[in-house]
C-alpha cells in the first residue's frame, strides 16, 4: 500500500522580534500567510486544510483555532488545532497528507510572549497542582535541576554551556536574531546564575513570532524546483507526567524513539545524512542533551562542541540560525522558527548563516521548555531526496 510523499512548498514568517505589538495577532498571521502563499506559488483557495499549534493560556483565548481560518484563508476548510509546539501540528499535517486525505495543507503557529504578563505562572500551571505548584514559584527551576543532572552524567561543565550560548548568540548576530551578539564563552561565564548551573544568557529570552508553512503531496511537489521533501516527522512520548516523579532527569529519551522512526523512513542513520541541525534549545544544556541523544554519546557531543565542530562551516552545524538563545523563546512557535530556518538552508536562502551545500537537515523541538518530550522532522532536497 503506497503512502504519499510530503513536500514543503513554501514558508512565510514574521521574523522573531522582542515585540510585535504594532500588529494584532490576526494581522500578523495574515501577513505570514500571504508570504507563505507567495513563496509556495499557490492560492489560498487551493488549500484543503489547516493545522494550527496553539495553547489556550498562552493565547489568553480559549479554543484559539476559531481565529485562524479568516487570517489564513482557510474558511470552510478542514481544520485541526494541536495543543503543542508547531512541529506537533506539522506531525498531524504530515500524517493527513501521507494518508491521502488531502493534497495541500497549511500549518500555522503564532506566539506573542511580549503580551503575556505572567508567563511563569502560565507554565507553572502545567504542573501537578498538589505536589509541584506549591513548591515551585518559578517552574524554570526544573530547567536548572535538569541541567544539573545532565552535567553530572555527561561530564560537561558550565563553561560548555557558555560555549553553546556564545555560539548561538554569534550565529544569531549573523542571522538577524533579536538576541544575537558577538560574545565569547568567557564573557558569558561572568553572567550570574539564574537557575544554577544555568547562567542568565544560558536561558532563552522571549520573542514574538508567527509562521505559516505550506505542505503538499508529490502532485504539488513536482511543480516546484524549490520544494523540500519532508521525509519523516515523529513526535515522541514523555517519561513523566505532570508530577514529574518518573522523569529521566538529564536525558532526552524521546529522541531515541524518534530517531528510530526517521532511520527506518530514510534507510540510513539520519545523523550521518544531515548537513545541519536546528533545535529549540530553551536553555544551553538542552542543545547538548539533544545532540548527545542523537549521537548516543554524551562524550562525543561535548567533544564536538569543544572542537568547534558544531559551528557554521564545520562538521555538523547545530543551530546555525542562532537557536532559541539567539532568536528568542517563541513558546509554541519555537519549532516553527527552527523549521523555517532549516527550509531556507536547504533552499540555499539562509543568507549569512548559509551552510554550504546543505541538502538534508534535522529539526527538533521540545513540547515545551520544561518538557521531556519532543518532535523530530527530517528534511531533504536535491539528490538527497
Amino acid at each position: 500500500m503506497g503512502f504519499n510523499k510530503v513536500y514543503v512548498l513554501g514558508v512565510g514568517e514574521l521574523p522573531p522580534s522582542t515585540s510585535m505589538r504594532e500588529l494584532d495577532f490576526r494581522e500578523a498571521t495574515f501577513e505570514a500567510a500571504v508570504r507563505a502563499y507567495a513563496d509556495a506559488g499557490v492560492e489560498p483557495d487551493e488549500v484543503e486544510g489547516l493545522f494550527s499549534a496553539e495553547q489556550d493560556f498562552v493565547e489568553g483565548i480559549s479554543i484559539a483555532d476559531e481565529y485562524t481560518p479568516d487570517q489564513v484563508g482557510t474558511r470552510l476548510k478542514f481544520n485541526m488545532l494541536v495543543a503543542g509546539d508547531f512541529l506537533e501540528a506539522l506531525f498531524h499535517a504530515y500524517m493527513a497528507l501521507r494518508s491521502g486525505m488531502m493534497e495541500l495543507a497549511v500549518v500555522e503557529s503564532h506566539a506573542r510572549p511580549s503580551e503575556i504578563e505572567n508567563y511563569n505562572d502560565v507554565l507553572r500551571s502545567s504542573l501537578d497542582p498538589h505536589c509541584l505548584r506549591p513548591l515551585l514559584s518559578d517552574p524554570y527551576v526544573l530547567l536548572g535541576l535538569d541541567a544539573r543532572a545532565f552535567l553530572r552524567s555527561s561530564g560537561c561543565t558550565t563553561h560548555d554551556l557558555s560555549s553553546v550560548a556564545a555560539k548561538n548568540s554569534r550565529n544569531a548576530a549573523l542571522s538577524g536574531g533579536p538576541y544575537g551578539e558577538e560574545v565569547t564563552a568567557e564573557q558569558l561565564e561572568e553572567d550570574p546564575f539564574l537557575y544554577e548551573p544555568l547562567r542568565r544568557r544560558h536561558v532563552a529570552r522571549f520573542s514574538d513570532y508567527v509562521a505559516v508553512v505550506v505542505l503538499g503531496t508529490e502532485k504539488w511537489g513536482r511543480r516546484s524546483d524549490r520544494a523540500v521533501e519532508l521525509a519523516m516527522v515523529w513526535s515522541s512520548g514523555t517519561t513523566s507526567a505532570a508530577h514529574q516523579w518518573m522523569r529521566s532527569w538529564g536525558k532526552m529519551e524521546w529522541v531515541g524513539a524518534a530517531l528510530d522512526r526517521v532511520r527506518s523512513a530514510i534507510g540510513t542513520n539520519p545523523i550521518r545524512a544531515v548537513d545541519l541541525i536546528e533545535f529549540t534549545e530553551f536553555s544551553a544544556h538542552q542543545e547538548l542533551q539533544f545532540l548527545s541523544a542523537m549521537l548516543g554519546s554524551d562524550g562525543e557531543a561535548v567533544r564536538m562542541l569543544r572542537a568547534g565542530e558544531l559551528d557554521p562551516g564545520s562538521t555538523l552545524p547545530l543551530n546555525p540560525s542562532g537557536g532559541c538563545i539567539g532568536n528568542g523563546n517563541s513558546l509554541n512557535s519555537s519549532g516553527a522558527r527552527a523549521f523555517v530556518g532549516a527550509v531556507r538552508q536547504l533552499r540555499g536562502e539562509a543568507g549569512r548563516v548559509q551552510v554550504r551545500g546543505a541538502r538534508a537537515a534535522i529539526v527538533g523541538s521540545l513540547h515545551s521548555e520544561i518538557s521531556d518530550s519532543g518532535t523530530l522532522a527530517f528534511l531533504r532536497t536535491g539528490d538527497a531526496a
Binding site: 483565548i61 478542514f78 495543543a83 486525505m101 507554565l123 513526535s235 512520548g237 514523555t238 517519561t239
Partner: protein, 384 residues
Amino acid sequence: MRRVAIVGAGMTDFRSMLPHSSPEMIREAVKRCLDDVGSLSIRYVDGVLCASAPDAFDGYHDKVSIANEAAGAIGKPITRVFVGGGSGVAAAVAGWYHVASGLFDTLLVVAWEKMSPPYPHAQKLFQTIFEPVIEQPLGPNLIWIFALEMRRYMEAHNLTKELIAEVAVKNKANALDHPHAQLGARITVQDVLNSEVMVWPVNRLDISPTSDGAVAILLASEQEARKLTDTPVWIDGVATCLDSQYWTNRDLAFPYYVYLAAQRAYRMAGIVNPLKEVDVWEPYDPFTYKELHHLDGLLGRPGLAPKLLKEGQLHRDGDHPASPSGGLLGVGNPIAAAGLMKVAELYWQLSGRAGKRQVPNAYVGVAQAWGDLMQVGTVVVCRR
C-alpha cells in the same frame, strides 16, 4: 487509502460533580476500552491521541500532561487536539489519519472533560472563547447566542417550541437505556415548556447538562483489526470544516460548515444519498434545536429534520433514528468526551453491542460534533 477500524470502546459514567479527578476518569475509560478488546495490554498500543476542550476547565496549562500517565502513554507518542465542542469527533478524525498514514497500527483515542471545577458553573469560562475586543466586553454567554440561533432556525422553518421540545423528550427517554447516562428520564413536551426560561426561546430542558466524563476508543489498521476482533467497525469517511470567526455575519438558519464536512466525509465513504444509506445518526445535540439543525446539515436539506421528527422517524424505532444513545441531552455533555461518546455509540450500534439501545439492521452510521464559536463541524462515517 489504508482502512481504519474501531475495535473497542469504553467510557465512564457522565455525571455532574463526578467524584473522580481527570486522570482517574481517563484511566477508567481506557481500562474499559482495553477490556472491551479482550483485556488488551496497553503495551500493544502504538500511541495515544487525546482531546479535551478549554484548558481552563481543568485549571491546567497544556493539559496533555494530565493524560500522559493516566492513558498509559508514558514513552509513547501522545498529542492533544481540540476544536471546542467539536473535539470528540475531531479526535476520531485525527486518530483516523494517524492509522491511515501507516505510521501507527493501533492508536488509543481518549477524550475527557471535567466541567465541575469551575464552580458554580462553567459559563464564566466560556466567555473566554469570544472575540476579545468586540465581543468579550459585552459579557456574552453561550445561551444568548444559541437563543439567537434557535430563534432564527424557528423563523426560517416556521417551527414551534412544542415540536423542538420533542427532541428532549426523545433523547432523555433513549438515555434511560444507557448505563452511563446522567439525565435519562421520561418527560413530556409540557415539562420542557414549563421548565425555566433561560434566554427565550431556550428553556432549561432544552439544554444539555454540564458534566464530567471520559471516553476511549481503540483504532487499528485492517491487519490489526482482524486479529483483535470479529466485529470491527470501519471509519470510512472523516472530515472537519471550520467557518469564519465572525458568526454574526452568517445566516444562522443552516450550519453550512456541517453540511460541507458531511459532504466531504460522504464522498470519502462513497455515500451518495445519506437519507437512504445511513441507518443510525448521532448528531450533536447540546440543545434540542441543535439536533435538528445539525441533521439538516448532515442531510443537506434545510428544514427536513423537523419534518422527520414530526413523523416520528427520528425515534429509535423510526426509519432514521437520531441519538439512540440519548445524546448530550440525555447521556450528558462533558464537551470533548460527549463527541467521542457519539463515535463510541456508532461502534456499539454497528457491532451489535448496543443492548437495549440497539437499532435493528444498523450497517452505516454518522456521528457529528460542533463547536468553537458555532463554526466548526466534525463528522465521521462508520460502517459495519
